[in-house]
């Protein structure tokens, strides 16, 4: 097989810096100079371009698909439909309910119906218009609550419209309290808004298989699903990671994987597919919109007595990660607080809205927005300081969660709240660009009111509810050019988070070797799991450490054999004994030897929830973060400027402190976006703003400076004591901003994103 051009690229192996340092990223220079090749840059001699025909209707029957005219269009090589899917026409992360190409019905606007391969993307695009699909348009199912309960609605899938229902009961579900507050909260559909649209290149292989180069978050789960749909054994579908321009959960489900491989195998030619921005909005799953009914009861002193909640998550047309959203949503429903009594119910449903699945903060973003809104409402009802109320009820090591799980690792929630509360407050704004409205000159201070708000969250780290979650690493140590060099090979996806840097740092520290080369991530090594759930430094970091330790053991054995001395450590290119004495120079000891070991890391076992009571040790670890937002609101125009957004987060151990800071900055910006601007607007199942012109994400004028306090309380059960970092700051930022806007305006604001209309009553 010939490899495609512009992928993958050689990363820098001459950077130094081990665990706890913040070395430069090995792909940093390439990215900053604009030289890094992303999946959309892939190219192969003799390749043709694939394109996807998508349904314009959110719900319709398909009477027929006519491809003759498209096939006759000059420059078109193939037009494929569901009839051409070689294997089973079904895939899915949790339920295999998603067709590769629609058969007799479509369930959302944008569902793939047919494929074209042509000499040029423009020709492919024109040919799509010539495919004749005869639709019978049906009424869409669009309300999540009705989808959960109304049996008269059309059943979108065989088993009805409920994907998962979970109940959690703790203590006395009918407990009563002195002070009771309630609210109904809604959250709009957020998009991951990664900058590199879906892209990949499928190259047919001589063995009848296919090599797929692509941007994804999880090579092995793509491989499994793609092979199944292609009717091929997994070993004949080989995946190689190309440059990934962000993911945030949006690349966990398949997009162009099966499609490009189908076309490539059909034609015997390489096929490239690359979505444009508009298609990308239809080509990946989004964050679940939610409607949540909450009631909190507390004593007069402010101790939480109970939480009751009913929450609905709109999963859209296919299941994707909806079951996990319901699991996370219900198990994390009361937040990082001690709550003796609870009655929680969550429903994840099918509808004809866009499919929703994984996104940073999965299933925790929605309830955190609701319970943190409730905490402020409760503080007002009690006449208490909102930070004090949170500190008073904060969980800690030894606390029992709502599922009965005892937290057996540090949980410094109260300290996180104290730290953000005690940070200095910003002075009043004097900069014209700094007022709400920013560059657009809408106020010189008129109508502007300041508010402060808090948000605190708990997020489960890694995969839960009994899944055997693990990663694999292969490490090879040898002397190259007189210098000991380690090659680290995993299938873990670098999606921008900096995992490549972390892998190098761990190998440098464990092997005492400066030069660490990274093998391109692919499926020729074992599964690494997904770059999601804040799990890669924990799991793949753990696997790299295990593989390095196994390599080191063999070095020690070699040293014992040669010198009869027991070595215990590799440092600075030397083999070192327990007393610090240098046993041997590593390069000299190795000589021509090549030591290679492959190891896995599995996290502690978790357990499924009891289907009736929702009790169980479902989670392996929690991450915690707290935000304090300071906002200026132009109350007349309803415009918001977040003046400061401060964060304290416990990360267990910062393997790379700069990267941790970057995660907190980026996550906070994404949470701010959800609070005040980011929403895919859907009416009757139709997306109204599939572009960055109208799906707005924060600019540098929207994202304020941050003070960040990073705590390192090691988790004794995790490698190096690490705790997942990526998700929590996304989650707690949203309610902090919302609560600050409420504090400024006195409005209830039960929905995010908060829009000017909500603030001005228009």
């Amino acid at each position: 097989m010939s490899a495609p051009a512009r992928s993958p690229q050689v990363l820098d192996d001459k950077i130094s810096g081990g665990i706890g340092a913040s070395p430069q990223r090995p792909d940093g220079t390439l990215k900053v100079r604009g030289e890094f090749a992303y999946a959309s840059d892939l190219w192969h001699e003799n390749m043709v371009w694939g394109a996807t025909l998508r349904s314009p209707h959110p719900h319709a029957g398909i009477r027929s698909i006519g491809i003759a005219k498209a096939l006759a269009y000059p420059g078109v090589h193939a037009v494929l439909t569901h009839a051409d899917v070689p294997g089973e026409n079904a895939y899915g992360l949790k339920h295999q309910d998603t067709p590769v190409l629609a058969e007799d019905r479509v369930r959302y606007q944008g569902e793939p119906v047919a494929l074209v391969a042509a000499d040029h993307p423009e020709i492919a695009r024109q040919a799509l218009k010539l495919i004749e699909v005869d639709y019978e348009v049906w009424e869409p199912v669009t309300d999540m609550e009705r989808a959960a309960h109304d049996e008269t609605l059309p059943r979108l899938h065989e088993n009805g419209n409920v994907v998962r229902h979970q109940r959690i009961v703790k203590g006395d579900p009918d407990a009563r309290a002195d002070v009771v507050v309630s609210g109904v909260y809604e959250l709009g559909m957020q998009d991951q808004a990664f900058l590199g649209p879906e892209a990949g290149l499928a190259v047919p292989a001589e063995d009848g298989g296919v090599d797929l180069y692509l941007a994804t978050q999880w090579l092995h789960v793509d491989q499994k699903q793609t092979a199944h749909a292609l009717g091929l054994p997994v070993e004949k579908v080989r995946l190689t990671l190309s440059g990934v321009g962000g993911a945030f959960g949006g690349r966990e489900d398949l997009s162009m994987q099966v499609h490009s491989c189908m076309l490539a195998l059909h034609l015997g030619r390489p096929v490239k597919m690359s979505y444009n921005r508009e298609e990308s909005f239809f080509g990946h799953v989004h964050r679940h919109p939610a409607r949540m009914y909450y009631e909190h009861g507390a004593t007069k002193d402010g101790d939480l007595v109970y939480v009751k909640a009913r929450m609905y998550f709109d999963g859209g047309a296919y299941a994707s990660k909806t079951p996990v959203v319901v699991g996370n949503g219900t198990t994390l429903s009361v937040g990082p607080y001690n709550v003796p009594n609870a009655h929680i119910e969550g429903w994840g449903v099918y509808s004809n809205n866009p499919t929703c699945g994984a996104m940073r903060g999965l299933g925790a973003v929605q309830p955190t927005y609701a319970y943190e809104s409730q905490m402020d409402k409760l503080a007002t009802a009690l006449g208490m300081d909102p930070a004090e109320l949170r500190i008073r009820n904060a969980m800690s090591e030894g606390s029992t969660t709502v599922t009965g799980q005892v937290v057996d690792f540090p949980a410094p929630v109260a300290e996180l709240v104290r730290r953000v509360r005690d940070m200095p407050l910003p002075p009043p704004n004097t900069d014209e660009l700094g007022f709400p409205g920013g560059a657009a000159n809408t106020t010189h201070g008129e109508g502007v009111v300041r508010g402060i708000g808090y948000g605190v969250t708990i997020k489960n780290i890694a995969y839960a509810e009994g899944l055997d979650d693990y990663s694999t690493a292969r490490v090879r140590l040898q002397v190259i050019g007189g210098e000991p060099t380690a090659l680290v090979h995993t299938a873990a996806a670098e999606v921008g988070q900096g995992l490549v840097t972390v892998q190098q740092q761990i190998a440098r520290s464990e092997l005492g070797v400066e030069r660490i080369t990274l093998h391109t991530s692919d499926t020729s090594v074992g599964d690494a799991g997904s770059s999601s759930a804040s799990r890669q430094t924990y799991l793949t970091g753990g696997a790299v450490r295990n593989a390095c330790l196994a390599v080191a053991e063999r070095v020690y054995a070699l040293a014992a054999e040669r010198f009869g001395v027991e070595a215990t450590n590799l440092s600075g290119g030397k083999v070192v004994a327990a007393d610090g004495a240098v046993v041997a120079d590593l390069a000299e000891l190795l000589g021509e030897d090549v030591i290679e070991e492959t190891r896995e890391y599995h996290h502690r076992k978790t357990y499924p929830l009891d289907p009736e009571t929702g009790q169980g040790n479902a989670h392996v670890q929690y991450g915690f973060s707290a935000h304090r937002a300071v906002v200026d609101v132009d109350t007349e125009l309803g415009l918001v400027k977040v003046v400061q957004l401060d964060c304290a987060q416990d990360v267990g151990k910062a393997i790379n402190p700069d990267a941790v800071l970057g995660q907190i900055h980026g996550g906070s910006a994404q949470g701010l976006g959800l609070a005040v601007m980011e929403e895919i607007q859907v009416t009757d199942g139709v997306v109204r703003n599939p572009s960055f012109t109208d799906y707005l994400i924060p600019t540098i004028l929207d994202m304020p400076p941050m003070r960040v306090d990073i705590l390192e309380r090691p988790d004794p059960h995790a490698p190096y004591g690490v705790r997942g970092v990526g998700e929590p700051p996304t989650i707690s930022a949203t309610p902090a901003v919302a609560n600050a806007i409420r504090a400024a305006t006195g409005l209830e604001l039960p929905r995010v994103p908060i829009k000017p209309e909500h603030l001005t009553g228009t």
Partner: protein, 290 residues
């Protein structure tokens, strides 16, 4: 698709006369987006990049003449003193990259109701210079827009410049968007004091099928302002002005905002900008732009 790249205005006009369906392109910030999204498939493009007089500004008959392709960045840097309202509007256009490429001529050619320069052009009584092989004509900007994304251009005509009298009084521009930079207007308002004519010019953006002045608000305020011995304005006058501006709008509900919000916000913008401009007129000194 044909691609024409004339070296002179005469050649460009000849090309446009011969190929009426050729779409003129300068910075490409509008046209290229439409092409990339397949919203438009012109038979030909007419590249104006080499025509020197479209990229220059200067004085003509006491007015500032801005070549149609002069980018916003140069308007901000070089014309902020003479044309503060237009410079303020230019400052809110897109990102620095877009401001380096986009031009007033392009805004006029696209005639989108959301174009940022329109309210400032209306408030300042700009005139649009339009040329063809048949000759050159001047059209007051208020008569230029004929419908959503439509204007008075004949198929053989090109926009060659805008002519604007240098400011004789304070000017303001305000725009509401749902983020603090790089955003398409939910609504926008331009205002210019013309003490020499004892009147106030206005312009509304993203608030009707076309950009338009708030004529009744202009008439009302002209009678309220004492140009001879200026005094601070009563809040009731500012509010009445705002209400009349809001009445001049006929906005729609869309993905960027509701009609009700647009009316509400225009009233606030009108009140505030008039207050700022009148304060400046009273002796607060001119506000710097950008």
């Amino acid at each position: 698709m044909d691609f024409f790249r004339p070296d002179s205005l005469a050649e460009a006009l000849a090309a446009k006369a011969e190929h009426a369906d050729a779409v003129p392109i300068a910075g490409g910030t509008d046209v290229m987006v439409e092409l990339n999204f397949d919203h438009r498939r012109p038979a030909a493009l007419l590249d104006l990049g080499r025509i020197v007089e479209l990229h220059e500004h200067g004085r003509q008959d006491g007015k500032v003449r801005i070549g149609a392709a002069v980018p916003y960045a140069r308007i901000i840097d070089e014309l902020g003193r003479e044309l503060p309202g237009l410079a303020m509007a230019a400052r809110t256009v897109g990102s620095p990259q877009i401001r380096n490429r986009g031009s007033v001529g392009g805004n006029l050619g696209a005639a989108s109701p959301a174009g940022d320069s329109h309210p400032a052009l209306l408030a300042a009584n700009a005139e649009v210079e339009i040329a063809s092989i048949r000759g050159t004509r001047m059209v007051p900007v208020k008569d230029f827009y004929t419908g959503v994304k439509r204007n008075v251009l004949a198929p053989d005509e090109l926009i060659t410049a805008v002519h604007i009298a240098p400011a004789t009084g304070a000017q303001q521009f305000s725009k509401v968007g749902t983020r603090n930079a790089m955003v398409i207007a939910v609504c926008a308002f331009g205002l210019a004091l013309h003490p020499d004519q004892k009147r106030v010019g206005t312009g509304l953006g993203s608030a009707a099928p076309t950009p338009r002045p708030a004529t009744k608000a202009e008439e009302f305020i002209a009678t309220e302002l004492d140009w001879e011995s200026p005094k601070p304005l009563a809040d009731s006058v500012l509010r009445r002005f705002g209400a009349l501006v809001a009445e001049a709008a006929s906005p729609i509900d869309d993905v960027r905002g509701s009609a009700a919000y647009r009316r509400h916000a225009l009233a606030v913008l009108a009140r505030r900008t008039l207050g700022w401009a009148w304060s400046e007129h009273l002796g607060g000194g001119r506000r710097a732009c950008a």
